[in-house]
């Protein structure tokens, strides 16, 4: 918790009071084609017991962010800079062995594809026990009891029998439950779920999301939910970060993002999905073009090549990189050159009626 010497006046280097605080995170990968700026200046805070959603298309830097928080880029060629404060500990510069003690114990992760993240050669039970005994000095029998208790907690029938099953004997939904059991076995304070339900059916997705919300209430852990599905965000999250081209383009409470979004990309996302809860539209309004290359990020605003509203501003969009400007005191921020009031007007008159 001791304050660090200030190196840069613009960067806050004191340990922040928030439970998890990401400050100006950058993850760059040098490749033969050039520098891939997968995450470029991302900042957000997360309180204990809160669920944060990170939304974006593939290649927007969502997963890289979560890997950086868990320190999974250590030892790779990735260049990670910025700060990640977790309960007063700075993670970016932390030694690998100390990181290892945190990982799986105080912070855990659920991956998208449960089949490829479980080891096919070991039983489900063995894999959960391994995670538990790594961080707790207990006997095998105690660990086994704990694992069975967790399997039961996540809703796997006959957990004492299924303990000795191999991953291929589980269905997709059950594998994801087993992954959650494994992630929660040490009661982590922070859980990162990277597209936990994308590979699952809607009915199973509903079960898993319900389970995650239950567990979050019970253990008061903080959850970062990474997804591309705005429906999942609306259902589970309290705060949202919208990412595009490795940057946060809008952040705020779930109400801000869904009822008064301020960034044309968020409008585009909301407009391009067919919705069950509204009158069926004759045509969808897709975002034109394709997501940008992270090697040659567009000059100015990252979104300008696909933005329908860039003529409202003129030159600035193609030349100047917009700041993540604060909209109100509640923490709603957006990265856009269009004037704040004009944006609200555009949303009310042109976007909201078409959603």
């Amino acid at each position: 918790m001791q304050p660090q010497p200030a190196m840069d006046v613009h960067v806050e280097t004191d340990a922040p009071s928030a439970f998890l605080s990401v400050r100006d995170l950058r993850v760059h990968f040098p490749t033969t084609d050039g520098l891939v700026k997968a995450v470029d200046g991302l900042s957000f805070d997360l309180a204990r017991g809160q669920i944060l959603g990170i939304v974006g298309e593939s290649g927007s830097g969502k997963s890289v962010t979560s890997q950086a928080i868990l320190g999974l880029h250590k030892g790779s060629s990735a260049e990670v800079s910025g700060e990640i404060w977790f309960e007063g500990k700075e993670l970016v510069g932390m030694r690998e062995d100390r990181m290892r003690a945190l990982r799986g114990n105080e912070m855990a992760m659920i991956f998208q594809d449960p089949l490829s993240s479980l080891h096919p050669f070991y039983t489900i039970g063995w894999q959960i026990v391994e995670a538990y005994r790594e961080h707790n000095k207990v006997s095998k029998a105690v660990a086994r009891r704990r694992a069975i208790e967790m399997l039961d907690r996540v809703g796997i029938p006959n957990p004492d029998k299924r303990f000795d099953d191999y991953p291929h004997q589980f269905s997709g939904g059950m594998r994801q439950r087993a992954m959650i059991a494994m992630a929660l076995v040490c009661d982590p304070k922070l859980l990162i779920a990277d597209e936990p339900t994308t590979a699952l059916d809607v009915t199973v997705q509903a079960q898993i999301l319900e389970l995650m919300k239950d567990l979050q209430r019970e253990f008061n852990s903080a959850i970062i939910l990474i997804t591309h599905d705005l429906g999942v965000v609306a259902e589970t999250c309290e705060t949202v970060v919208v990412m595009y081209g490795g940057q946060c383009v809008e952040q705020g409470s779930v109400q801000d993002i869904f009822y008064k979004p301020q960034m044309p990309y968020t409008w585009g996302l909301l407009g391009s999905m067919p919705r069950m809860d509204r009158t069926r539209q004759a045509r969808l309004t897709p975002i034109p073009g394709t997501p940008p290359s992270l090697i040659q990020v567009p000059r100015g605003c990252v979104f300008h090549p696909r933005c329908r509203f860039r003529d409202r501003v003129g030159e600035a969009c193609t030349v100047m990189h917009p700041d993540l400007e604060e909209i109100d005191a509640s923490g709603h921020r957006a990265r856009c050159h269009i004037d704040k009031h004009q944006r609200s007007e555009i949303f009310a008159n042109e976007i909201a009626p078409t959603l």
């Binding site: 809607v202 509903a206 705005l230 965000v233 999905m273 009158t279 969808l284 394709t290």
Partner: protein, 398 residues
């Protein structure tokens, strides 16, 4: 007992769902069972995976039929059997009045100009060693189709039509993004101006913003070439957007089949209710007010499906509402896909319109129309009763 009842009922003819006179494609009691064999030298069949188990539906020209359900429900197998990538075990597939279910490969080949397919994964459905020109031009070469200005000009025209740059004729699939690759797959499918395109999850691998582009493209092409689609998807919102009719499948059977607006405003099958209530809606307030029907457990194995109604093991209505005698019926008798209302097929012993589920969906005008229609039916029913009473009343006086 239940099985014989089913075959007897249908022995004399086709299922009403497959008996539309104007249909381009009519599928009647289609079955696809994959045999399970055991033994090292002498292999004998010890069972079968009943992937598709008695499916009937029809598609009119220019219409889109959505096939929706969880993974493992047999929707993709149905699509593959219809396009004859798999041989059906039983049942008929009538395309323009001819049963193509028993067509040989060579006979089927001539029909391939009329029936095409778009696949889910744009990464594995394009040959990485072929250029786009070769891939999209393949149908012309295989079918020896005549082209006005040569295959290359035709292919470049197609590429332009689906929103690709014709100058990329000599590029390889890996040089394109997921959305662009799906456009290549679409160009290949429409090359020979087919009548029916079977789309197997064509947009589920794509990002939201790109998904909307591809859906719009599919709709434009349908209008331009009067295409008929069978659209397989697991996303109920996408299916609602693109389909005219929707079939909900579960464990190899159709549970509910009707017009899109009717299905989404007045769903009758408990499985449809569960599916609809599970779809997350991008509106936090509606989300928090909604009641969600959670299904317990997993999909039963299609090797050994439950007796009676295949859904009864997970059915919330069976578990919570039905009496013991009603439950007995669900366990013993297979519910047929019957007409419960006009043009509304439901395979359930106790179907019920759940307005509260539909209410989560703002269906706008159509919901009103359905309500008006129901009110009219009620008025007509009252009038009929009054008439019957009036007719019956004078009788004792005589």
């Amino acid at each position: 007992m239940s099985k014989t009842a089913r075959t007897e009922a249908e022995a004399d003819g086709v299922h009403p769902a497959a008996a539309r006179p104007d249909a381009l494609l009519a599928v009647n009691d289609l079955k696809k069972h994959f045999p399970i064999r055991q033994g090292i030298l002498i292999q004998r069949q010890v069972g079968a995976v009943r992937a598709v188990d008695g499916v009937s539906f029809s598609v009119a020209p220019g219409e889109t039929l959505g096939l929706v359900g969880e993974s493992g429900c047999g929707k993709s197998t149905t699509a593959r059997v219809v396009s004859k990538l798999l041989e059906p075990t039983a049942g008929s597939v009538m395309f323009e009045g001819q049963d193509i279910a028993r067509y040989s490969r060579s006979r089927m080949r001539t029909l391939r100009t009329d029936i095409q397919m778009i696949f889910q994964d744009p990464y594995s459905s394009l040959n990485p060693r072929h250029t786009i020109g070769t891939i999209v031009g393949a149908p012309f070469r295989i079918q020896k189709a005549k082209t006005e200005k040569g295959v290359k000009a035709e292919v470049q025209g197609l590429m332009e039509r689906v929103g690709l740059n014709p100058e990329h004729y000599n590029r390889y699939p890996h040089e394109f993004s997921g959305g662009q690759r799906q456009r290549i797959g679409i160009a290949r499918a429409i090359a020979l101006k087919p009548k029916l395109i079977v789309c197997d999850e064509p947009v589920s691998a794509l990002d939201v913003s790109v998904q909307a582009q591809v859906i719009n493209l599919l709709e434009d092409l349908q209008n331009d070439f009067n295409l008929t689609y069978i659209f397989v998807a697991h996303d109920l919102s996408v299916v609602r957007h693109i389909s005219d009719r929707v079939a909900v499948m579960y464990l190899g059977k159709i549970m509910e089949l009707t017009d899109r607006d009717v299905l989404y405003s007045t769903p009758m099958h408990p499985y449809t209710h569960a599916l609809m209530s599970a779809v997350p809606v991008p509106d936090p307030e509606k989300e928090s007010r909604r009641e969600r029907i959670l299904l317990v457990g997993d999909l039963p194995s299609p090797i050994n499906p439950p007796t009676g109604c295949v859904f009864h093991t997970r059915c919330p209505k069976y578990r919570e509402i039905l009496s013991e005698t009603d439950k007995q019926l669900c366990r013993d008798v297979v519910p047929l896909l019957d007409l419960k209302k006009e043009d509304h097929f439901v395979a359930c012993h106790f179907p019920q319109v759940r307005a509260d589920i539909a209410a989560a969906v703002d269906v706008g005008v159509t919901a009103k129309e359905v309500a008006v229609e129901q009110a009219r039916e009620a008025v007509a029913a009252v009038a009929a009763i009054e008439e019957a009473v009036a007719e019956a009343a004078p009788a004792p006086e005589d």
